[in-house]
């Protein structure tokens, strides 16, 4: 515990501090790029990318071992990872465009095949009985304990660069994710933007391999934006929150890992991120489930209040206990069950509003059914002013028309 707080406050030694800061930057960058992977609905592709790094890492290890005498050179391993992940992405792309298979089928095939090749190569490496191969397992589940200063620095700088690139391209990525067709028709090279997005993701996967491991690196890109989505409806805010959650979660996870060197860093980071997700899911005021429950409670009250007032307007008895208690609490009904003056006047207003809503439903059934607020809020708060005006004009002549025989029937 003491060690954890020491790591958390960056006082557990220069190396640990560096690892924690590096992890935080990695988390921020992956959270930011993850927003667009999520909005582009390509989270599965990112899974293929990460799994496709394994054969590259193993092959690079073997090659480095044969030619340089030592396989444990991080830059060489990362180049191998990037190359094989790149081939994996191109394979998915090729299958998708040249066959009738869907993207998820292509991903499933590529992901498992690349991973299988990687596992076979790892077994071969183990049978080669070379010193230093133990470090390779760290690429599966992540390990920061043996990390060198230079490695931590590389990760921090690369993560910073990817994060910067995402922020600078935020506009174009938003456009790509929201409306690909419009982006293309406006002159943007959609294919190239997509490639840039994947390339940045690939960058994150590769630099995060060592810290988080290839099985879990993609969680670093997916969980922060998913958690952040509970809090906001704006892209720039979403990017900021996702980067924040990614940074904080990775930082805490890395600190935990520093205090418990036997635990896999990747697993710890993902568990911390998951706790952010659960908290967001529960308590977010925008899209959280507690807020949704509260909203439902309010919704039920609004419906009861409105139906109660309509009953008053139509001189019908209000029988349901919940409706009666809501009316009484609002001062619309006296203790004797009779409507108050306030209740009467409010009932008239609601009645007119309801007439407009009913007319709207009659005239535009499709539209009104798609509308979430139909007859829940005053119509003027929901529909544009010109629509309401048309409805009001339509409502008034109805009275006149009914009074004039032969001036056309209803509707």
């Amino acid at each position: 515990m003491e060690q954890f707080f020491a790591a958390l406050t960056l006082s557990a030694g220069y190396n640990t501090a560096l690892v924690c800061v590096g992890a935080a930057l990695l988390g921020a960058a992956s959270g930011a790029i993850g927003v667009f992977v999520l909005l582009r609905k390509r989270t599965l592709v990112s899974d293929a990318v990460s799994h496709a790094t394994l054969p590259g890492v193993a092959l690079a290890f073997i090659i480095a071992q044969v030619y340089f005498g030592s396989g444990r050179s991080l830059p060489v391993l990362l180049v191998g990872a990037a190359v094989s992940a790149g081939i994996g992405v191109l394979a998915v792309d090729w299958i998708k465009t040249h066959t009738r298979l869907t993207e998820d089928a292509a991903i499933g095939t590529v992901l498992s095949t690349f991973f299988a090749v990687g596992m076979v190569l790892l077994t071969i490496i183990q049978s080669m009985s070379i010193a230093g191969q133990a470090g390779l397992e760290g690429f599966l589940l992540g390990a920061t304990s043996g990390m060198l200063k230079s490695e931590a620095m590389t990760i921090a700088v690369a993560a910073g660069l990817v994060g910067l690139a995402v922020v600078l391209r935020m506009k174009e990525f938003s456009l790509l994710c929201f409306d690909e067709g419009f982006a293309a028709a406006s002159g943007y090279n959609v294919r190239w933007l997509d490639r840039t997005l994947l390339l940045l993701l690939l960058g994150i996967v590769v630099i995060g391999l060592k810290t988080v491991g290839l099985v879990l690196i993609i969680a670093l890109a997916i969980i922060p934006p998913v958690a952040a989505r509970f809090w906001t409806d704006r892209v720039p805010v979403l990017v900021a929150i996702a980067a924040g959650i990614g940074a904080l979660g990775s930082y805490i996870g890395a600190a935990l890992s520093a205090s418990a060197p036997n635990m896999p860093t990747g697993g710890l980071i993902v568990l911390v991120l998951f706790s952010f997700f659960v908290v967001s899911l529960l308590i977010s005021p925008v899209r959280g489930i507690l807020a949704a429950a509260l909203k439902h409670y309010r919704f039920q009250r609004i419906v009861h209040l409105r139906q109660g007032l309509l009953a008053i307007a139509h001189d019908e008895p209000v029988l349901e206990p919940l409706t009666r208690s809501i009316l009484r609490r609002g001062g619309f009904m006296g203790g004797d069950g009779q409507p108050t003056v306030k209740g009467q006047s409010e009932a008239r207003l609601i009645e007119r509003d309801q007439k407009l809503w009913n007319l709207y439903r009659e005239m535009h059934p499709e539209e009104s059914h798609a509308l979430a607020d139909w007859s829940l809020k005053p119509i003027g708060e929901v529909l544009p002013a010109d629509t309401v005006k048309t409805l009001e004009q339509e409502l008034t002549p109805h009275v006149v028309r009914d009074g004039l025989p032969g001036a056309g029937g209803a509707n």
């Binding site: 406006s186 906001t232 409806d233 704006r234 535009h364 499709e366 010109d386």
Partner: protein, 274 residues
């Protein structure tokens, strides 16, 4: 090659009927366009030139390739043959002079954006890479929302808008682009009457400002009221020209075949007489 030559004839025929026109005066010209999905042709050697400064409806039965026509002409989907010229230039070089309004159902409206965010997307081309919308751009976006009657909804999350309101936002985004040619894919699909009116008013204003507007349209009954020209498709080019001379029962019969009941045809031709 064979479909190219036959469509070339089409074009020759079409332009020879008109007086001599310079290519840089033709706002939107498609030559010999053939598009296929999985080896099944959807459009076959279509050639067409949009009349400048006119409001044209693209009509035809379901599956006639109306939306495909716009998408392929813009280069959004691959085509087997054909090319699009905008004021005499290849379309890839003239996309800035074009505004495209996709079908509302083409996007996920749960996207984290407000109405004004979406309209600002129409200005991204002017804002440029690595820069952010300024106050001037926001004001312009607001003005565009105003011209479709949506200024009060600028900061509303787009998922909370009704279908008609979403369509108006799409239209506002196209207005923000300040284009010369507007291509719209079913802007009237599933919208309320007030929205339909608002859209028609905007289309008329665009034409009054000298813009060329092409609209994929479904409702035959309103064609006569809204448009001055039509392009009739049924996988091939059936007819195009002014509504008075082209929107005839004979042409409609050729495009729709048996799918249009004779009573419907009678109704439409009666409207022609009145």
């Amino acid at each position: 090659m064979h479909d190219r030559s036959s469509s070339g004839l089409h074009l020759l025929h079409d332009t020879s009927a008109a007086h001599a026109v310079m290519p840089e005066d033709l706002p939107f010209t498609v030559q010999g366009m053939t598009v296929a999905y999985h080896h099944k042709p959807v459009l076959w050697g279509v050639s067409y030139s949009a009349p400048k400064g006119c409001l044209t409806a693209i009509i035809g039965p379901n599956g006639a390739g109306k939306s495909t026509f716009l998408k392929a002409a813009l280069g959004l989907i691959p085509k087997l043959s054909g090319e699009t010229k905008v004021f005499g230039e290849p379309i890839e070089k003239a996309l800035k002079r074009i505004a495209y309004v996709p079908q509302r159902s083409a996007v996920d409206w749960d996207f984290p954006a407000t109405a004004i965010d979406v309209v600002l997307m129409g200005l991204y081309g002017q804002i440029g890479w690595f820069r952010w919308p300024s106050r001037k751009h926001r004001q312009k976006a607001l003005d565009c929302l105003k011209s479709v009657g949506m200024q009060d909804f600028a900061n509303r999350q787009i998922g909370q808008l009704s279908g008609g309101q979403q369509q108006r936002v799409f239209l506002a985004r196209a207005l923000a682009q300040d284009a010369e040619v507007y291509l719209m894919d079913e802007p009237f699909a599933g919208v309320d009457a007030a929205t339909e009116k608002a859209i028609v008013a905007v289309l008329r204003q665009l034409v009054a400002d000298g813009k060329t507007v092409l609209v994929v349209h479904h409702d035959l009954e309103t064609v006569r009221d809204y448009y001055s020209h039509i392009l009739l498709l049924n996988g091939q080019h059936v007819a195009d020209g002014p509504v008075e001379t082209t929107f005839t029962p004979e042409n409609l019969q050729r495009a729709y075949g048996g799918r249009l009941a004779s009573t419907q045809l009678d109704g439409l031709s009666e409207a022609a007489g009145s």
